[in-house]
């Protein structure tokens, strides 16, 4: 349209001056802004590698599997923090995904219609709470509760499992995992809820007409129809959990070794960077932390790309928009 209208030189010459400047100006400015966004990603990757370089050349790929973090001997490895990140995020996802699906079932199928919006808004509000406040609550409220109630209870029933061995503690993997669960549940819920709402009503009615109970209808219609959205949302939640630095740093205890017991203190990559980077002494500690950051960045990007691809492959064209919209809200 634009090209057609402006290819005529007479028309072009007769356009007034502001338009002749305005069009290329807006196009140029907005193109520059888009380029800036691309430059930010490139810059992030470059800077992280740049700062990490001394550690990358000192430790190589073996850094990933080295189970040591010793500032005195300047021997650093990522294994304790990789372990912590994977364990806490996996537990968080294990809790958060089913809970989010259950909340979405409640919000789309069960709740009285005048309750749906308020309850959905309250769940979304949970996502808006700054993580530093969740961490504060984790230190002063959740931690003691885990220490006094939850962990002894787990131990009395499942104490024979090594992951529930040792003394209960207010800070550790499990407390961090619970905080992450609280953090990502509203994020996953907002997406799954929106996806559930796109399930065509006649499919649902068809299931009911065949005599399905409500749960059978959900299992046979809603869940299969929303599968891509659910998986995509869960992986996005996983990405959030992996990258959370502050709340985890506040409650995980800051240990630098792998511990099998979930009650034990530990560390994650993001939390380790947050608590050690500022003022890290020695020639290799800061680069090693940036190396952790590089691994974390790779994790985060891969997880995000996979989430988007799954959603797109699911051919839920709507969901792509929904993901970001729901995330932002």
């Amino acid at each position: 349209l634009e090209a057609g209208a402006l290819s005529n030189p007479v028309l072009r010459a007769r356009r007034n001056l502001t338009d002749r400047i305005g069009d290329p100006l807006l196009r140029g400015l907005s193109g520059l802004a888009a380029a800036l966004a691309v430059a930010a990603i490139v810059g992030i990757v470059y800077e992280v590698i740049h700062i990490a370089w001394p550690a990358i050349s000192a430790f190589g790929i073996g850094f990933v599997t080295t189970n040591d973090w010793n500032p005195v001997t300047e021997n650093f490895g990522a294994a304790p923090f990789l372990y912590g990140t994977v364990v806490t995020s996996a537990i968080a996802l294990l809790f958060a995904a089913p809970i989010s699906i259950a909340i979405s079932i409640y919000l789309t199928e069960l709740a009285p219609s005048r309750l749906r919006r308020p309850v959905a808004t309250l769940v979304d509000m949970l996502a808006a709470i700054p993580t530093v406040i969740l961490g504060l609550w984790g230190i002063l409220v959740l931690g003691p509760f885990m220490h006094d109630t939850i962990e002894p209870a787990l131990q009395s029933v499942l104490g024979f499992l090594p992951i529930f061995s040792g003394d209960p503690s207010a800070f550790g993997y499990l407390t961090a995992a619970v905080i992450l669960t609280i953090m990502v549940t509203p994020i996953i819920t907002s997406v799954t809820r929106e996806v559930f709402e796109t399930v065509p009503g006649d499919l649902k009615e068809g299931a009911y007409a065949l005599g399905a109970t409500r749960w059978e209808m959900v299992r046979e219609v809603v869940l299969p129809y929303s599968r891509a959205g659910i998986v995509g949302a869960s992986i996005l939640g996983l990405g959030r959990a992996i990258g959370e630095a502050i709340a985890v740093a506040q409650v995980i205890g800051g240990a630098t070794a792998i511990n099998v017991s979930l009650f034990h203190t530990g560390g994650t990559m993001a939390a380790q960077i947050a608590s050690q980077f500022q003022g890290a002494p020695g020639a290799l500690q800061k680069p090693s932390l940036a190396y952790l950051g590089l691994i974390l960045l790779v994790f985060a990007v891969v997880v995000n790309v996979i989430a988007r691809l799954i959603v797109q492959r699911g051919k839920l064209k709507d969901t792509d928009a929904t993901l970001t919209e729901a995330e932002a809200l």
Binding site: A40, E47, I99, D124, A128, R214, G239, A245, A274
Partner: protein
């Protein structure tokens, strides 16, 4: 879709009894899950209210933080610092984010537009601590911490939120409005600035407010970029500035109960700000969607 099954006609026994029991169990579990989420929200907000309200006073809001370990001060320096850093970040991110959205919806072809959206999604997924490392390398290393460096990091975190929500609402602007403008020979930039953007204003404000709410509580990058600051109320962005999230973080790590009380009070201020901003943003969003007929 309402009442499932025909309880009244079918006798509830044998297989049907089992199916109804499973159904009931799932329904109860789903309701409990929803209650649990709301309960956790109330627990967290309740704790903040209960423990923060007592420590909140005019003195607390108007006095700068004392020396390390001295809890007789307040958070006036943190409030001012947060306002400066978040304000600067908003000044950078909102115009750039809006321009990115304009580029993808008005100028870029579908392929390139898609690529930019993808980049924004990736940027949105970058952990904020990594953004902190980036800006640290860019501005702080070999130099010193500064409020400005922190605001650059916050702006990078805001950018994808602003741009993506702006894209969504700009795409909702009815095509016939733009076509009418083009048919009248109105230049692209004029129709964008005078028609497309004003029509989508409500949604654009929503995105901007949500982005501000999100970074107001952002802590991780600030630890690297603006966490060691001088005494008193500082306003020079070239220096490291205090902030509410850093105050909460540092007080929460302290063993002293007085510091914890101060952390709760500061958390109350922050949570109130963030939640109010969210409610306002939602109101704009609802109005805008209604107006755009979506």
């Amino acid at each position: 879709v309402s009442a499932p099954g025909g309880h009244a006609l079918l006798l509830d026994r044998g297989n049907l009894k089992r199916r109804n029991r499973v159904n009931r169990a799932i329904e109860v579990a789903s309701t409990i899950a929803a209650l649990l989420a709301v309960a956790v929200l109330l627990l967290v907000v309740g704790s903040v209210l209960l423990k923060g309200l007592g420590a909140l006073s005019i003195h607390f809001l108007t006095t700068p933080t004392g020396l390390f370990g001295d809890t007789s001060g307040g958070i006036s320096n943190a409030i001012v610092g947060s306002a400066i850093m978040v304000g600067l970040a908003a000044l950078m991110a909102i115009p750039v984010g809006l321009l990115v959205a304009i580029y993808t919806t008005e100028f870029a072809g579908p392929r390139f537009g898609h690529a930019v959206r993808f980049v924004l999604d990736i940027l949105n997924g970058v952990p904020t601590i990594i953004t902190g490392i980036f800006v640290f390398g860019l501005m702080v290393e070999g130099n010193k911490q500064s409020g400005f460096a922190a605001s650059v990091a916050l702006a990078i975190i805001m950018l994808p939120i602003v741009a993506r929500t702006a894209q969504e609402v700009l795409a909702l602007v009815p095509a016939n409005l733009k076509e009418a403008a083009h048919a009248l020979g109105i230049a692209r930039w004029r129709s964008t600035v005078r028609i497309t953007v004003p029509t989508a204003a409500g949604g654009l404000i929503t995105g901007a407010l949500l982005a501000v709410a999100r970074v107001a509580g952002e802590t991780a990058p600030l630890i690297l970029l603006s966490s060691i600051y001088g005494q008193g109320v500082l306003t020079e962005p070239g220096e490291a500035l205090a902030s509410i999230p850093i105050f909460i973080f540092q007080s929460s790590e302290s063993p002293s109960p007085e510091a914890h009380t101060q952390a709760w009070a500061a958390a109350l201020i922050l949570i109130a700000f963030v939640l109010v901003l969210n409610v306002v943003a939602r109101a704009f969003y609802a109005r805008s969607r209604k107006r755009l007929g979506a």
